[in-house]
């Protein structure tokens, strides 16, 4: 039994019973934790709007030791990041980011650097183009969680990149000669490979400030395929973004 405190971001929640909620946080000190926020769905809950998705705050919890779920005592808002919930594009891309963190990390596995990256990414998304921020974040998130794809040579035969008709597989690039013996590869152009290298290596502000141009759509497809392979299912936020964008086409503006 122990009381715990940490800075944390809300990365998910679902209703429990009559009026409670199970909330998933990604915290600086403890990594991913889940806990029950009692009566948080009641209109006059003491949590008020603090447990909204993407909110950054100071979490105080009690670990009873009897269940893997913590008891959430307080969550004091530091940054509401409300803008992320006020546009469908931002909501979808920020969801993609927290989904990657949720799926690629284990419970109570501290990862302070990833926490820093996530809060920085979410803060950037309030002002910068959401698609670019999400790609930069996910490219770095893969590195941080030990899933960094190798981009300098074919992972099978060692042939140096760049080479034509490259694909991306589990560990990194695969050349045309090695491709037939491997399942689930996605094509990746030399331009997208170079952009991905830059997204994960260049200073954050530079990456966020530079348009990706044509490679943006390709990179989203490539990283989605990579995520799908790692987590065993297509990221859910991608489906949401696809369906919501159909509207943008109809309405002729970006939500």
């Amino acid at each position: 039994m122990a009381l715990g405190k940490s800075s944390a971001v809300v990365i998910g929640s679902f209703p429990l019973g009559e009026s409670d909620r199970v909330v998933t946080f990604f915290s600086r000190e403890y990594g991913k934790v889940r806990g029950v926020a009692r009566a948080s769905r009641r209109p006059r809950s003491r949590f008020a709007g603090a447990l909204e998705l993407f909110t950054v705050g100071e979490l105080v919890f009690f670990d009873t030791g009897r269940s893997e779920l913590l008891r959430i005592d307080h969550f004091d808002v530091v940054r509401p990041l409300a803008r992320l919930r006020e546009s469908l594009e931002r909501l979808g891309h920020a969801s993609w980011m927290v989904e990657c963190v949720n799926r690629l990390t284990g419970e109570r596995d501290p990862h302070a650097a990833l926490y820093g990256l996530l809060t920085r990414g979410l803060r950037s998304m309030e002002v910068a183009p959401p698609g670019r921020v999400a790609l930069s974040f996910v490219a770095r998130c893969l590195d941080q969680t030990g899933h960094r794809p190798r981009l300098d040579a074919c992972v099978e035969c060692g042939r140096r990149a760049p080479f034509p008709r490259a694909r991306l597989g589990e560990g990194g690039l695969v050349c045309e000669a090695c491709a037939p013996c491997l399942p689930g590869l996605v094509p990746i152009s030399p331009a997208a490979t170079a952009a991905l290298e830059r997204l994960r290596g260049a200073p954050w502000e530079d990456v966020i400030g530079t348009p990706l141009g044509r490679t943006e759509g390709e990179l989203k497809t490539v990283l989605d395929a990579h995520m799908t392979r790692l987590i065993g299912m297509a990221p859910r936020a991608t489906k949401f973004l696809r369906e919501v964008r159909r509207l943008s086409k109809i309405a002729g503006d970006r939500a």
Binding site: G12, P15, L16, G17, E18, S19, S40, R41, R42, P43, R44, S45, F47, A48, G49, A50, L51, E52, L53, R85, E86, S87, L88, L91, G92, S95, W96, V98, E99, R236, A237, K239, F240, L241, R242, E243, V244, R246, L247, I250, A251, D253, A255
Partner: protein
């Protein structure tokens, strides 16, 4: 589960699939029912089957009903120029309890949720559009929950319906963020309805 006789294990398993019920609660409910008289248990079983056999969704508004169209859709005294859009049948009941609203409803049967992969195609949005086409609806009130999913749904619908010549309003923000509409008290909810605003 290996220690239980098969019928006991089967009931525990079935109860566990209900939302908010974990293995311990499922066991407790099962042993509770074993102690009750047969008539009482039969009544529960019959009620469960009846709800599935006799209740459907209204093909117009998607409220739960035992007749199609439902009573709200077929009541000529209700104003057919106004449609109030809610997430779930429970929210419709909450609106009805206020006694303030005299228009029609449309139940989406959910809300947009990126983390659950719920997009517009999973909700009764096409059906709402079909209802608005060629009818004399003058106002659509978006009464989705004041949480992330509900706000995203309202945002989406406002953009989708904008090209139509119809007034689109959102219930007032007096509702506390993060709460469920169905738990809002009647006073708060009728105030929210009264203070609804045009949404851009």
């Amino acid at each position: 589960m290996a220690y239980y006789p098969e019928p006991v294990a089967r009931l525990i398993d079935a109860l566990q699939r209900l939302p908010g019920i974990g293995p311990k609660t499922a066991q407790r409910l099962t042993f509770y029912m074993l102690k009750r008289p047969p008539d009482e248990v039969r009544e529960l079983g019959d009620a469960l089957l009846a709800v599935k056999e006799k209740i459907t969704y209204c093909r117009t508004c998607f409220n739960v009903t035992d007749e199609d169209p439902c009573r709200l859709c077929s009541d000529p005294r209700r104003d057919e120029h106004v449609i109030c859009v809610v997430e779930e049948p429970n929210d419709l009941l909450a609106m009805e309890r206020t006694g303030e609203y005299r228009g029609r409803y449309h139940v989406l049967l959910g809300a947009l949720s990126p983390l659950d992969g719920i997009g517009p195609d999973d909700l009764k949005i096409r059906e709402l559009l079909a209802r608005l086409e060629g009818r004399e609806t003058t106002e659509v009130i978006l009464a989705t929950n004041p949480n992330v999913e509900g706000e995203a749904t309202a945002l989406y619908l406002a953009k989708l319906l904008r090209p139509l010549a119809v007034r689109i309003t959102r219930i007032a923000r007096g509702l506390p963020v993060g709460g469920d509409l169905e738990y809002a008290d009647q006073v708060t909810l009728s105030k929210a309805l009264e203070g609804r605003r045009e949404i851009s």
